[in-house]
Amino acid sequence: MIANAEPVIRVNGVSRWFGSVVAVSEVSFDIMPGITGLLGPNGAGKTTLLRMMTGLAATSTGTVTVFGEPVRDNPPLYKRIGVMSEHETVYGFMKGREFVTMMGSLRGVTDLEDAVDRAIGLVDLADAQHRSMETYSRGMRQRMRLAATLVHEPEILILDEPLNGADPRQRVHFKHLLHTLAEQGRTIVLSSHILEEVEQVADTVLLIVNGKLAASGGFRAIRAALNQRPYHVRVLCDSPRKLAAAVVTLESVDAVHVDPDGALIVLSRNVLDLQIELPRLAQAQSIGLRRVEPLDDSLESVFGYLVEN
């Protein structure tokens, strides 16, 4: 990625209110090529934000530009954008292939049959494509909708809860697909409640809480930035209380406690320092260290901290 590259999507000072309810408040961020995860609790404003980014909803204030152009009331831009909304309704009377073909036709795809074959192949629904979508399971409908989103090979993909109804196998398949698409230089924004998967897939996350942007960037970097919160590190060893007495003398340790199951939990703001000192202390006290693991080095914990606050 070139350092001073223009952002693909720029959201600038965007707010949206419905009557007296502020759904999104003064949000600004840039999205670059790669996979960006949009996260937040229910009612945080994620869907409203996505709808504004796709031009489906107007902003109350602020601007949203895609490739430098306003996205609202700009139909030609949709040749380069693929959108999958959270609503699962499809045209029940249509067969899967017919639906993807229609979407391809609407988006001006020229080599339609081949494009449809490719898109349906990507979501692994070639066997079911000639069946009416009314007969599809929820997961199949989601996949066919994804095929319809991909049929015109858009440079930008905006996906709202794309994994709804997907079984574990389909989730794995979907993750591979996303990585492949991102490697091709596409920009993917996906909103999801499934933190584990976003963690595995997204390069960058945007955390929305109560309509405001609470954090953006890599989740580990966000975690490091939360410096008012000490890290929790769990240590399994031979003599937890003896090790606790030694560890608590370290400057980098805020507190220690011993779990009912005998694990030592260390709260520290400087995990790097702890990493160096802990084995040294254990060796000095002749205590065998069996396991050392961070308890909150996950997106879920970052999410939890930010939402709680």
Binding site: R51, T54, G55, L56, A57, A58, D73, P75, P76, L77, Y78, K79, I81, V83, S85, H87, T89, V90, Y91, F93, M94, M102, M103, S105, L106, R107, G108, A148
Partner: protein
């Protein structure tokens, strides 16, 4: 445009709708046949007022068109499938126009055949009369269709508002207050009929044919333009 046109045709031509439209469209034809067969057939004026004016143009045409036209966008909004159409590079008028054309394609044949048969039977096979009734019917379908398509976009209560328009405005007020007629689609459809064949509705006052044609185009085009504007500006669910 073809994609939207075909989609709308499929969405709106279910079995039940077709059956109900067939029944409604055949009513005026049956009445015309019965009236002719009766010993004391009504006068041309009575037939025109009651059957063509009130029943056909005032009830059957607007109701049939309302059921289809309000659903053209109304169902997409309710089902949240409208985004499938709007997140596409086609200009918005290439979404609203095929919707209207699809409505005319579905309702038009039923109404037109009903109108032509009714006219042919009632006016004893005189082609100017038959043509006048047929053309006016299609014009009414275009005008009502355009208005109700727009209504389906702007309001979730489109059917209620449309029914109020038909029953109260067209059915009630325009019968009593002459000024209201100038804002009545039925009035212009009848004026068009009279313009093509002067013997039709000869007992009423009409605007000239050119005005009737102009209003038909203005109403059809005007509401289509408003619908396109709304589609551009609305938040699509």
């Amino acid at each position: 445009m073809i994609a939207v046109y075909r989609l709308t045709l499929r969405q709106l031509s279910g079995r039940w709708r077709i059956s109900i439209m067939t029944v409604l469209a055949s009513l005026p034809v049956i009445i015309a046949l019965l009236m002719l067969a009766a010993d004391d057939a009504p006068s041309v004026e009575e037939f025109e007022t009651a059957i063509l004016g009130a029943m056909f143009a005032g009830s059957i045409v607007p109701l049939v068109v309302l059921a289809i036209a309000a659903a053209a966008f109304g169902n997409e909004i309710e089902d949240r499938t409208l985004a499938n159409l709007t997140i596409s590079p086609v200009p918005r008028w290439k979404i609203t126009l095929p919707k209207l054309l699809a409505i005319i394609s579905i309702a038009g044949p039923f109404i037109a055949i009903s109108a032509l048969l009714t006219g042919h039977v009632a006016f004893l096979g005189e082609w100017p009369a038959t043509l006048a009734v047929g053309v006016a019917a299609i014009a009414a379908v275009a005008m009502y269709g355009s208005m109700f398509v727009w209504l389906g976009l702007v309001s979730t209560q489109a059917i209620g508002a449309g029914l109020l328009y038909i029953v109260l405005w067209e059915g009630f007020f325009s019968g009593f207050i002459s000024g209201v007629r100038l804002l009545s689609i039925r009035f212009y459809a009848i004026a068009l009929m009279h313009g093509i064949d002067e013997r039709r509705f000869a007992h009423l006052e009409h605007v000239p044919l050119s005005v009737a044609i102009g209003v038909t185009l203005l109403v059809s085009g005007g509401f289509l333009y408003l619908a396109t504007l709304k589609l551009r500006r609305m938040d699509v669910p």
